[in-house]
Amino acid sequence: MTEANHLGRPLTASDHAFMANAAPSPKSRISAVGAALGSMPIDISEVARSWSSAARPGSTTIMVCAEDEDALTLAWQAATAALDAAGWDFSSGPAPRATSGLPIGVWWGTSRPPFGEGPSHSYLVASLGLPEDTAGTLITGSVHAGMDALLAAMDAIAAGSVTNALVVASDAVLPGTGTAVERATGAGAAAFLLEPEAAGPDDASSLIITIRASRSVPVLDRYRGEAQPEVGDLYDPRLFREEVLLPSVESMGRALEGAHESSGAAAIGTWVLPDPDGRLGAAAAKRLGAPAGPTRDLFRVAGDTGAAAALLGLAVAIATPGSPEATAVISYGGGRTSGLIVDAVSSASVSSISRDLPGAAQVRSVVARGGPDTSTATYAEVLRSRAQLVAMADPVPMGLPPASAGSIRGTAEVLRREGAKCRSCGWTSIPPTIHPACVNCGATGFDAVRLGTTGVVHTFVVNQTMPAPFTAPLPLVVVDLDDGSRVMLQGISACAASLEIGQRAHLVLRRYALERGAPVYGYKVAPAPAPSPGPAVTGPGDHGSKEVRT
């Protein structure tokens, strides 16, 4: 009898030769990191009860998207955190300044781009204030897309086509109602800033992606057809577990280990493994003889974040103080399995990791949120936020059609947070297209500025009477930004009860509406985030509960 692999194909010599390879050179150094989770906590056992299904023991609270969040707003949040941590200063205008060198590219992986066909990538680039010649691409098609984005960015760095690569993995999977997927699906994002290995500072250790591997088999497991908006359950979960996921992860893990060992590096200390249901991750870890802690802990906070899961896990792993020198991450989706290893490499003069990775504190604070003590949304609220529960009402056409010239003009200046600063009096008129003359003095000479995102509440209202498509409570907030300008924008609904004049606030990208099928984006006002917690006191190997990290 011929030896066959798990899917029945006879094994060939190349199967036995499968191994991971050294990452292309120059290798990529991770210079900053950021993360985001959906802002709506749900109790997945309540979702189970709503369908008269037994809640799984140990089920808990995970974070999903509020109705004004999606894969773009999560991507913006994580990417903004990474860019801020890296010290990129865009305040002088729409083009970045003080980067360690252009050109730049954005590689964005998500299974749920905001437009099935449309300007998803260019919206993200504009909202981050990046220049119009930004390179990169949107990668989608499966939950492997986040890992693909990272691999593609590494290739671009190695090829020398960019010197700064922003990798963003975000996802907001829309699960079918009543499915098991629904009880596991969270929403989140991770962002990494990559640069060529040599660009790192000499006096500190560096996180270098050293090993990579990919493998591809034509297996149909989780899928969504062209006309299908929602993800449904696997046809046969046992088949997926025994014949697809576990063997794929195991063989990838072995390949990574082999390559890492032969390079003479330290043993892999942390494994970040695929965990689409909260159990497969632990099973995969067991096969590899690896600790299940990091994978399990992330699922308990974030659920399955689809295309963001692998990179979010990596972000958390490398943001954990005292993390081991080698971290392996494996992603699976759509028949593709990829893995890579991040090594903490010290220069000769430094004997250990001497500084916190920029953005690490932000990542820790993101995953420290949520948990069982957070008050959770009702299932009806969750359904409404996913537009799976819709009021029966005649739609009232709202505003300009989204693809009209007026909307295109307005959208660009909103995404980029453009203002026109008067050369005569210094007043910032917002937005520029409706202000050919200065609001304050009437002069017409302007400098383009990019509005800041922090300020103080000057006044506000909370609108309680909003017929569909709006939902109440809808705060509208006037904010005096720290850069001296003033804006009036919607507030996120979660801040409705706690707004006060004088409180610190910041602007976040949110989806204002779905209009004639197109998402409409703008910034909303949110309470200023609490200061990031400092490095935790836990040591290596302690991947304990969230409570320890707070």
Partner: protein, 392 residues
């Protein structure tokens, strides 16, 4: 400034309310007939040289895009020149101002100013939403009418200690006045407790802090000083008018405790009339929300900035108070059929100056009545008209 004096010789309106039984044209005709009937010595409609029409929300009525031919044939005046004014909440007040300028110019002798608004042929939700996504695709999204004024209430409370009870006092007073006005949409009294326990609409404004959506029409007849004596023994005169504008977006406001459009409109009207706020006997001001009346009576100079709420609570603006404000019931009780609102306020001023306001009559000592509207995006449009019973 040199301008020929303009007389108001007739005025009338239909009862305001949800007039589901009346068409736009029927309301217009009703107001026109009432105004004609009020001309003491009679007026042959054929003497009307021109019509200035105020209708703000053609979109609600389904007749947007129609111009001056909207009303003449409904009034039996087909062929008469008619200009339609659409200028936000001051549309009616601006139609009057334009009508007065036409007469003052000497081009026309008799001008009919008419305001007509059909708000309730569409649902209240659609009326509310009709402005929630206009303008910039993002910056004004969600800006329903209460959002134009509620941030001022929040800030006025913060800076000046204005309280919900003070806001409620405005509603209680105006509903009391409305109970005395047979033309008002609401003609019953309310209590402060009712205001303060009514549903929150747009914090800090509750349901009874807000005016209703109302159908209505009102009309006035203007003529020159020479012709006035042929029509009436007790003319009322246009003493002055003014208009002001301000930036259209709320984030462009330098202050959230005052409306600059009102301030400049009032300054211009007082200057033209040669008087000041203390000369005014009675004022019909724009109280689309309770906070708006408080802003108005400060911005019009009746009370110091920050003292308007206290004045309302103390009864200074009651019919018997120091400066009676909105004896007709105001927008809060009488209603706010936008194009008709300003014209109807001027009808009330005309009645007050002629001593014809019945149980709502205020004491007329100086012979001046002031009418005011403010509105539009960012509350950036305001008109003030001042009438007088003093002969020129």
């Amino acid at each position: 400034m040199s301008w020929s004096r303009v007389a108001v010789v007739g005025g009338g309106l239909v009862r305001f309310g949800e007039l589901f039984e009346s068409s736009y044209e029927q309301m217009a005709h009703g107001a026109f007939e009432a105004a004609l009937a009020s001309v003491d010595l009679g007026l042959d409609p054929g003497r009307i040289d021109a019509i200035v029409l105020a209708t703000q929300r053609g979109t609600l009525w389904g007749q947007e895009g129609i111009g001056g031919n909207t009303v003449p044939s409904a009034l039996g005046l087909a062929g008469t020149p008619c200009t339609r004014i659409e200028n936000a909440c001051p549309s009616g007040a601006d139609a009057f101002r334009i009508g007065a300028m036409i007469v003052a110019s000497g081009v026309h002798d008799v001008v009919l100013v008419i305001g007509v608004e059909k708000m309730r042929d569409k649902s209240t939700e659609e009326g509310l939403l009709s402005r929630a996504a206009g303008g910039h695709p993002v910056y004004t999204r969600g800006e329903t009418a209460p959002v134009l004024f509620a941030p001022f209430a929040t800030r006025h409370m913060y800076e000046h200690g204005t309280t919900p009870e003070m806001l409620a006092a405005v509603a209680v007073k105006n509903h009391h006045n409305g109970s005395l006005d047979p033309y008002a949409h609401f003609q019953s009294e309310i209590t402060a407790e009712q205001v303060l326990s009514s549903p929150m609409v747009c914090s800090p404004l509750r349901l009874l802090d807000c005016c209703p959506q109302t159908d209505g029409a009102a009309a006035l007849v203007l003529t020159s000083a020479e012709k006035a004596s042929e029509m009436t023994r007790s003319p009322v005169w246009v003493a002055g008018f003014g208009m002001g504008t301000d930036h259209p977006y709320l984030h462009e406001k330098s202050s959230f405790t005052s409306l600059p459009a009102t301030v400049s409109a009032a300054e211009r009207a007082y200057e033209m009339a040669g008087i000041g706020p203390s000369d005014i006997d009675v004022a019909e001001v724009h109280d689309c929300f309770t906070i708006t009346e408080i802003l108005d009576i400060e911005d019009l100079g009746f009370f110091e900035k920050g003292k308007g709420g206290r004045a309302a609570l103390d009864g200074d603006t009651a019919i018997t108070g120091r400066i009676p404000v909105n004896p007709s019931g105001g927008l809060l009780a009488k209603g706010h059929p936008i194009g008709a609102t300003g014209v109807a306020q001027l009808v009330e001023c005309w009645w007050q100056l002629r001593g014809e306001a019945g149980p709502r009559q205020v004491a007329i000592t100086n012979g001046y009545a002031l009418q005011h509207n403010v509105g539009g995006r960012g509350s950036g449009v305001s008109v003030v008209n001042i009438l007088t019973s003093r002969s020129p």
